[in-house]
């Protein structure tokens, strides 16, 4: 950042008397914590409600002043719900789709971002601007022709429509990842590339041995965004998958919901089982994630 130092304003001599400074500041801190707690309670309450319902017998769930501690703990909600429909299979299906999509996105978006940030070719910035305009396109606009295309190609009821686009970095909202990685790549000193080229390295080698190892925070952000995106996707699987054996967790949960509409214990147990893996992943990666978002400067 190159910012010109602002000329210091003349002091107008209205500095607060030092004696009163500590008091209000301490009250201020207390207010901040109070506000945080006030915000955290409604944020966490739905989770508490979910977990408590997941472990409750129906009878206890419908007691008039609501109870918060399940007694007895109804573990069978989980075993019943998760075997009523093959959630294990749905989990596996979702993992397969998510892993293929994350791999494709990270690989092809990095390659494209490298070209758009660290290789000089004519028309580069114009091409990038055109690709980036795709981010603004509402997904509903491309929905019908894309569906028609996959139907034409006989790819309905396969994972092809859900995974192949991520192997073309420019597909749909995926361009945003190219943008993120490009922003990050631009912060790495170009001298590193130059030195490698003098040693006879190819751009491909420079990307994998120099740029990628230095870009871990950005790659983590793209990985998490893409993973959560595919894990949570509902419309895609809804459109393309018919065979129940191929369902993803989202689709499976929606169909489960429509069948067991009044079995709240089962529904909450199934929901909790769908939520848990994402939260576990986040806990594992959260430090990198927040750092990465700050570093990649998403704000611009």
């Amino acid at each position: 950042m190159t910012s010109v130092a602002a000329p210091e304003k003349p002091r107008t001599g209205r500095a607060a008397p030092p004696a009163t400074r500590r008091g209000p500041r301490r009250y201020g801190k207390a207010l901040v914590y109070l506000a945080l707690v006030a915000g955290a309670v409604p944020t966490l309450l739905p989770f508490v409600w979910l977990v408590r319902s997941a472990f409750m017998q129906d009878a206890q769930m419908f007691v008039a002043p609501p109870q918060w501690i399940p007694s007895p703990f109804q573990w069978s909600n989980f075993t019943e719900a998760l075997t009523a429909q093959p959630f294990g299979l749905y989990f596996l299906n979702t993992v397969i789709i998510a892993v293929i999509s994350v791999l494709g996105t990270v690989l092809t978006c990095s390659v494209a971002a490298f070209s758009f940030s660290r290789l000089r070719w004519r028309g580069r910035d114009a091409v990038f601007a055109v690709l980036l305009s795709g981010v603004m396109l509402p997904y509903a606009v491309t929905l019908i022709p894309t569906f028609a295309m996959w139907q034409e190609l006989g790819a309905l009821d396969t994972y092809i429509p859900l995974t192949v686009p991520s192997w073309f970095a420019g597909a749909g909202g995926g361009v945003f990842n190219v943008f993120l990685l490009r922003q990050f790549f631009l912060t790495i000193p170009f001298e590193l590339d130059e030195a490698a080229y003098i040693d006879g390295a190819s751009p491909w080698r420079v990307l994998w041995t120099i740029v990628m190892p230095l870009s871990k925070p950005a790659i983590v952000v793209v990985t998490i965004f893409t993973f959560i995106g595919t894990w949570n996707d509902f419309l895609g699987p809804l459109l393309y998958l018919n065979d129940e054996r191929k369902y993803t967790l989202s689709l499976g949960l929606a169909s489960f919901q429509s069948i067991y509409i009044t079995q709240w214990g089962y529904l909450m147990a199934a929901s909790a089982a769908v939520i848990a893996p994402v939260i576990a992943l986040f806990f594992f990666l959260q430090r990198y994630f927040i750092e990465g978002v700050t570093l990649t400067g998403i704000k611009n």
Partner: protein
């Protein structure tokens, strides 16, 4: 044109090669479908049949379609409620987390948690929260001696209920605000303090103006995303009660994949595209008046 050096030539060759997947992706999954969608919108076409050209008939039919207007109103209502409310809450929490608080990672995680809940699990959970007889909301209200509501099961409270639900997942907006807040130069705050300004003045004269680009970014992303709300209408309300939550993309989905009117649905898609373009354009034009860029003209 000066002759290219060896390295320049290599860069050009590799540069084009490495950009190819992205360009193909754009052509096949963005530009192509976009044009095709417009062409489809000029036809009468059922799934499995052959499209027949009908000119602008779909668009004129739209103008007289009560459900189209209904969906537009419902979606606008939802967007006008959910976006500002989400921005204010996310900004407020980000401000709190930007103070030097203890246990920051824990707080950050708490407020980010709802964002991680898969959309469908979220919807199922909220159906249960909104349950008029045994749901969380009415249980809490009854215990506090307040009147209980019908939430998503009443025509007038359905959209407001979904707005309340939408404010639960403000994590991404919050993280972006947080990144923006950390970029506000500290010396500006010190300058206000030296002049004897309190927290309110620091907020009004430093934080808010310096954050306008971030607010603007979140506003645009929020409006474009919220306008395409789908899951809640599909799983929770099926557009009801009495079409109160017939959101635009849900109506489009119904036309295309349930009633199989692909031509008409494509026209809906293009009208949505136009609406979003106009909204974005208006926001950008308006931005000149309130968004502050430090290096004006440099971008």
């Amino acid at each position: 044109m000066p002759p290219l050096s060896g390295q320049r030539r290599m860069e050009r060759r590799w540069g084009l090669l490495m950009a190819v997947p992205a360009i193909i992706g754009f052509a096949v999954f963005t530009a192509g479908p976009m044009i095709a969608s417009f062409l489809f919108s000029l036809t009468d076409w059922q799934i499995g049949g052959t499209p027949s050209f009908v000119g602008l008939d779909n668009y004129t039919a739209l103008a007289g379609d009560g459900l189209f207007w209904k969906s537009l109103t419902a979606t606008t209502y939802y967007t006008l409620g959910a976006v500002p409310l989400g921005l204010i809450i996310a900004f407020g929490v980000a401000m709190l987390l930007d103070q030097k608080v203890r246990g920051l990672p824990v707080w950050r995680t708490i407020f980010y948690l709802p964002t991680l809940v898969p959309a469908i699990a979220n919807v199922v959970l909220w159906i249960w929260i909104f349950n008029p007889d045994f749901g969380l909301l009415n249980s809490v209200l009854r215990q506090a001696g307040l009147p209980a509501g019908q939430w998503i099961y009443d025509e007038s409270s359905a959209v407001p209920s979904l707005i309340v639900m939408s404010t639960w997942g403000f994590g991404n907006t919050m993280v972006i605000f947080l990144a923006g807040l950390q970029g506000v130069p500290r010396h500006l705050y010190e300058a206000v303090s030296i002049d004897g300004g309190g927290p309110l003045r620091r907020f009004w004269h430093v934080t808010l103006p310096m954050m306008t680009p971030t607010i603007f970014y979140n506003l645009v992303v929020g409006v474009v995303g919220t306008f395409q709300v789908f899951n809640q209408a599909y799983v929770m309300t099926e557009g009801g009660p009495n079409q109160a939550t017939l959101f635009y993309v849900y109506y489009l989905f119904r036309k295309a994949f349930i009633e199989s009117e692909m031509g008409y649905a494509s026209a809906l898609a293009w009208v949505l595209f136009m609406i979003i373009m106009v909204l974005t354009f208006m926001m950008f034009r308006n931005a000149r008046r309130w968004v502050y860029y430090e290096m004006a003209g440099a971008r």
